[in-house]
């Protein structure tokens, strides 16, 4: 039983680290703010979720705290991504090569000078 717990925790730790690594690589490689938010805001958050699952399995006494933190992170991280993207769009940060921009005609944008 103990061995099984440790093997599952190990798999979860490696998976979470891989997802965080994908997030950071995306943060380095992708061209503009909006596409970077896709990599960092989601993928690295799921890395955190897998680490928390590993903690909950390794030490079952504190499992509730870990599950609460998972709920909290999953609830709050989209709000953070949205607030950064909305602020960047309103401040006028350009999109890298957009195929299509339905919002352009709807919203007054600032200039890129002051960011």
């Amino acid at each position: 039983m103990e061995t099984l717990q440790q093997v599952i925790a190990m798999i979860l730790l490696v998976l979470g680290t891989f997802l965080s690594l994908v997030g950071v690589i995306g943060f380095i490689r992708l061209p503009d703010v909006y596409t970077r938010l896709h990599a960092t805001g989601k993928v690295s958050v799921f890395g955190l979720v897998f680490l928390l699952l590993a903690v909950s399995i390794l030490t079952p006494l504190t499992a509730w705290k870990g599950i609460l933190l998972i709920f909290f992170v999953l609830l709050a991280s989209p709000a953070v991504s949205h607030s950064i993207a909305s602020a960047a769009y309103k401040a006028g940060v350009p999109l890298a090569g957009p195929k299509r921009d339905d919002l352009k005609s709807k919203l007054e944008r600032g200039s890129d000078k002051d960011v």
Binding site: Y34, L37, H38, A39, L75, S77, K99
Partner: protein
């Protein structure tokens, strides 16, 4: 009724944080939950209705499963795109109508869209149209309306 549902939710959170079930701790948790509830505005939207709790839990689980499937599929697609040496980006902003009347339903479907990797709600106007930035415009534009219709069906049975 609003007070009761809010107190129950906050009490459960308090018990998960402290994780001891002695009588003084239970009373203290109940007092803290009541105090926080009294600080909330009176016209806040109700989280769930006590009299329909079993159906709420069942539909909530179905909704969580739908969102989970979106998240896993989108996560795999985003990870493949990031690790691709050629970086085939086709990013852009598309408009997705919510189709939902209540504010809480609109907010929760925007949350689900932003949670799934590859889609990110930038702005929302008063008609309930979500302007969504996505990594792959063509495939998302095809799939988005159908996924939103599925979410809207579950959410409207939750909150209306």
């Amino acid at each position: 009724m609003f007070y009761l549902s809010s107190i129950i939710a906050l009490f459960i959170v308090y018990l998960m944080l402290t994780a001891n079930i002695t009588l003084p701790n239970l009373v203290l948790g109940l007092l803290v939950a009541t105090g926080i509830t009294l600080l909330m505005p009176k016209d806040a939207p109700m989280l769930f209705r006590i009299d329909r709790l079993p159906r709420f839990l069942w539909t909530g689980m179905q909704y969580a499963f739908v969102v989970f499937k979106d998240v896993v599929l989108g996560g795999i697609a985003t990870a493949r795109l990031v690790l691709d040496p050629k970086l085939p980006l086709k990013s852009g902003i598309i408009a997705i109508p919510t189709g939902s009347k209540s504010e809480l339903g609109t907010a929760i479907s925007a949350h689900a869209i932003t949670l799934s990797p590859g889609e990110l709600v930038i702005e929302m106007d008063s008609d309930g149209i979500m302007y969504t930035h996505c990594l792959d415009v063509e495939s998302t534009a095809v799939a988005a309306d159908e996924a939103q219709a599925k979410r809207h069906k579950l959410l409207s049975s939750l909150f209306d």
